[in-house]
């Protein structure tokens, strides 16, 4: 079932090969290329792993992979926003639309929920941070708090 979902998403992408959230481990490498990022390191954790990248624009990005190698969350921090189109992949359109449709403008940290995805933005000038999580794809026994 999961394979079918991933295949569907991959099919919906076509070209260019935007990647990441909800995608396989290969998308991490594509992200590296697209963001001209340097891979910093890979960390093995209980029930998941983390790939750390540093984009050429100066943002530190962390991609969270389940044991099957699917990206279930991304987190970042830096002086500017990361390439969200790259990081959110097929979910970017829904995120952008939700941002535009916010009725009550909260001048402060933002939480956007679109379907299965939660995006949270915070911080201030020079020190922005954020994360995007696919809630149903969190591995069992892994807390959202590890995504930071």
């Amino acid at each position: 079932m999961r394979t079918a979902v991933v295949l569907f998403l991959a099919g919906a992408l076509c070209a260019p090969a935007w990647a990441t959230l909800g995608q396989g481990a290969a998308s991490v490498r594509r992200d590296q290329q697209q963001m001209r990022a340097k891979a910093m390191r890979s960390l093995q954790r209980q029930g998941y792993s983390v790939q750390q990248l540093r984009s050429a624009s100066g943002v530190q990005v962390r991609e969270y992979l389940d044991p099957d190698g699917h990206v279930f969350a991304v987190a970042w921090n830096g002086p500017v926003h990361p390439n969200l189109q790259q990081l959110l992949g097929t979910y970017f359109g829904a995120f952008k639309q939700a941002m535009q449709q916010r009725t009550r403008v909260s001048r402060g940290p933002v939480e956007i929920r679109v379907g299965d995805m939660v995006v949270q933005l915070g911080g201030h000038m020079r020190a922005l941070f954020g994360r995007a999580i696919l809630v149903s794809q969190m591995p069992a026994n892994v807390s959202r708090e590890v995504v930071r």
């Binding site: 500017v80 403008v105 001048r107 402060g108 020079r126 020190a127 959202r144 708090e145």
Partner: protein, 405 residues
């Protein structure tokens, strides 16, 4: 318990009368040179500020009037209701509201523009220079940003990332932003050609199109306060207290300089140094959160998440908390490592955002989530004197950057 508008007004009048009585009885005497929060003080370095709905009819919006002039001339214009923001650096005004002809900065003969990243939006437009006057203080030749304008309708996609293009009064929430935060420059060394660490912030815009560039410090958008001839080491935000149910408005002052005049003495304020990102530590329920900051530009107290605070977010907007009844919390703050000075307890209350007074512009109990972080927004400043010391400047309590309150 909730107050009706009439009761709130009565309370406010009572409070005002009481504070006037205090002043009349010598409350403004010399024993305590730092003013009562929001209290009466005057001088060249005192800029009046208000919490009012403003042009975008918003809540918890700290506003001031800003005068800009063509450099070296008396050709000036005052822009009302500009957001006072300790979370950013630099003055940003709307291109279509500024009637002056302000000279643009250029890089290699092409106009210099900036795409400034705020947490949920960007401001896009050229960098120009102007004299900036606040109260009786004047900074000369300050690089500021003009937002929008004919050639700057749409920010580069390398910067916008699907975030809001804050190019209107309604999307920005005010007639501009006056960033009086911890830094002299808005980006700093990371955006200079020497370090070249941050791209997609400054852009050079020849007729062929804009591309990311690096900029020397003196050409970056800057905190006008550090360019004042005096009272230039920081600001004191001094706002009156707000009753728990909210008020129509709140008043106070932005006082320039730290311990440079009788009216801006640090006194007994505690100093909290920040890390390289401008953050300090908040201790809450036995945990330390290093991603903590003070920000008049945030309109609520944004902290942690539902599972940590026990408060649900609102069903119509998950960006705010909606507890069943007002919920009290206590935290302490301390400076970034290796500082160990810990504040006394900071008590705060979060109300249900859906049932807060909907005619009030000042709401002390508005809050929302910010996972792993404490964003002490404008409600923190109600009834306090809060000092912002600018990096690379000196005060009797040491060099900036730091917060003190």
């Amino acid at each position: 318990m909730r107050f009706s508008i009439r009761q709130q007004l009565a309370l406010a009048v009572l409070f005002l009368a009481a504070s006037m009585l205090l002043t009349a009885c010598g409350g403004g005497g010399s024993s305590s040179p730092t003013p009562t929060p929001g209290g009466g003080t005057t001088g060249n370095n005192v800029e009046s500020v208000t919490v009012a709905p403003g042009p975008a009819n918003n809540v918890n919006t700290l506003l001031a009037n800003v005068t800009v002039c063509q450099s070296g001339t008396s050709n000036c214009q005052t822009i009302n209701d500009v957001l006072v923001d300790t979370g950013s650096v630099g003055l940003r005004l709307f291109s279509d509201q500024v009637n002056l002809s302000l000279p643009g900065e250029s890089v290699s003969g092409a106009p210099l523009a900036e795409c400034s990243a705020f947490l949920d939006s960007v401001t896009w437009g050229p960098v120009v220079t102007a004299d900036v006057q606040l109260a009786g203080e004047k900074a000369s030749n300050v690089p500021i940003q003009l937002i929008g304008g004919s050639n700057y309708q749409t920010p580069p996609s390398s910067c916008s990332n699907g975030l809001t293009n804050a190019n209107s009064v309604s999307t920005l929430g005010a007639n501009g932003i006056l960033g009086v935060g911890l830094w002299r420059h808005d980006c700093g060394a990371a955006c200079t050609p020497e370090l070249a660490q941050v791209t997609n912030s400054y852009y050079t815009c020849p007729s062929s199109g804009c591309s990311s560039t690096f900029v020397e410090l003196q050409n970056q958008v800057q905190n006008p306060v550090w360019l004042f001839p005096q009272d230039n080491n920081g600001v004191l935000i001094s706002l009156g207290g707000v009753t728990s149910g909210g008020q129509d408005t709140d008043g106070g002052n932005m006082i320039f300089g730290i311990s440079t005049e009788n009216n801006n003495q640090l006194g007994s304020a505690q100093v909290f140094p920040v890390d390289g990102n401008g953050n300090f530590i908040t201790n809450f329920n036995g945990q330390g959160y290093s991603n903590s900051y003070l920000d008049t530009g945030s309109n609520g107290l944004y902290f942690l998440d539902s599972s940590t605070t026990g408060m649900p977010t609102c069903s119509d907007n998950s960006g705010f908390y909606c507890p069943a009844s007002p919920t009290q919390f206590t935290a302490t703050v301390q400076g970034a490592s290796p500082s160990t000075t810990v504040s006394g307890p900071i008590n705060f209350t979060i109300g249900n955002a859906d049932s807060l007074c909907n005619t009030c512009a000042a709401l002390p109990e508005l809050g929302g989530p910010s996972p792993g972080s404490f964003d002490w927004g404008l409600p923190f400043f109600f009834g306090r004197n809060v000092f912002v010391a600018i990096n690379g400047t000196s005060t009797p309590a040491g060099n900036g950057p730091f917060w003190a309150f």
